[in-house]
Point group: C2
Chain length 245, copies 2
């Protein structure tokens, strides 16, 4: 067991953070479900081959995140354990995709503006660079926990009022409907992973070193005309994608 979950030294990532990441992941995969507790500090120290104080630093970080709670004399209890599944299909929608796994979902509009399309955005939306697009920054919650942060672009000519509509309905699907688009489909999704930027860390309530799953997606209407290009960032320890073919 000692060699299984080893950590590396002198790599710029503190041991306590590597250990915290591994324990968080183990909790997420249900490794400690039998007891509902993390193994004792001395056992973890032995497993990871580090000093008990180093393990304590890791557990303190997890306690700060609200994932575990230490009780003197008893042990360290697991408080929260969640990994949502986000299906990616031709009919991908955030609310219905996550909705059946959470009691409450919310969509917050952080920022909205009309601006000129960058080369990348123009290419995805089939516009000329410089044409007007509406950009929305949105933050989506499931059961009061932030799940993803997204930047979306829409052709301004067709969807001028989408910012206000999103603020009202807290849903892209409903905002589209209000603007006369009753249905749309997911055309392409590109998935990458990266470290979170400072702004995303704060909004998603993550700690530095945390990982994001990034989905660049393009939706079209039923005629195949692009209606939305978006870059969504998901907290990787709270979400997984499922692609059904």
């Amino acid at each position: 067991m000692a060699g299984l979950k080893q950590v590396q030294r002198q790599t710029g990532v503190a041991l306590w953070r590597q250990i915290a990441d591994r324990i968080r992941e183990a909790i997420g995969t249900g490794a400690y479900d039998e007891t509902g507790m993390v193994p004792p500090e001395t056992v973890l120290a032995l497993q990871f081959g580090v000093n008990r104080h180093t393990v304590r630093s890791a557990l303190a970080a997890l306690a700060q995140e609200g994932i575990v709670r230490a009780v003197q004399g008893r042990g360290t209890l697991i408080e929260r354990k969640e990994r949502l599944n986000f299906p990616i299909t031709r009919r991908t929608r955030f609310t219905s995709g996550i909705g059946d796994q959470a009691r409450e979902t919310r969509g917050l509009l952080l920022d909205g503006a009309t601006e000129e399309a960058s080369a990348e955005v123009a290419r995805w939306l089939g516009l000329k660079p410089g044409e007007q697009v509406v950009r929305l920054e949105t933050l989506r919650h499931a059961d009061k926990r932030p799940v993803s942060k997204a930047t979306s672009w829409f052709p301004a000519v067709r969807f001028a009022g989408i910012g206000e509509a999103y603020r009202k309905h807290e849903s892209i699907t409903k905002a589209f409907a209000e603007l006369g688009l009753s249905d749309y489909v997911r055309a392409t999704t590109e998935v990458t992973a990266a470290h979170a930027s400072t702004a995303d860390l704060a909004d998603l309530e993550l700690t530095p070193g945390a990982i994001l799953l990034i989905a660049k997606a393009m939706n079209t209407d039923l005629d195949g005309v692009p209606v939305q290009y978006s870059i969504s960032r998901f907290a990787a320890d709270r979400v997984q994608f499922t692609i059904e073919n």
Copy 2:
């Protein structure tokens, strides 16, 4: 500019590593393509709000990875810049997916064994827990650079000799063909992201703190019978997934 790429202190992730990660990503997205060089150390230090020596530590790490090369008096040149695209479709195959983006692809068999199916493996392959499965550990290269490491399970009754066949052909598709399975399709793919384990770091030639894109995939034959369950780990800074719907 100073605020855009900020880094965070006292988080268990050394500043030099955060900066190295950001520069590596910026190189990958083509931010410095105009000059083919990274900005001067003093400029980077100003942008990130750190001392020049800290930037030097970051650049030294990237030089170690072979991504940049510093030339005294001139600047720091970008040596290598790659991000492969891996399409996920009903007909997903590694070699043909990556093949058109690399001159040479290779598949190395690291380990192979026949063993009893765990609960997870049995569930995916439609077997009873404890039934025999063949497990293969494979490492896949594109142009001499390791791209992904995969653990695959196959029903042992049907694919007893697949280890030897893979070693010969360096391709799952060809190994299947030799064992009488001429075609197969991708049924389900689950995508997550996580920090790499020590063993994966070494095999994929990554530095700790590096991120993996993880695809759990299940392939079936044309009758819908599961033939393969695999967990593939990709170096996130070298690969992106594309899902076409």
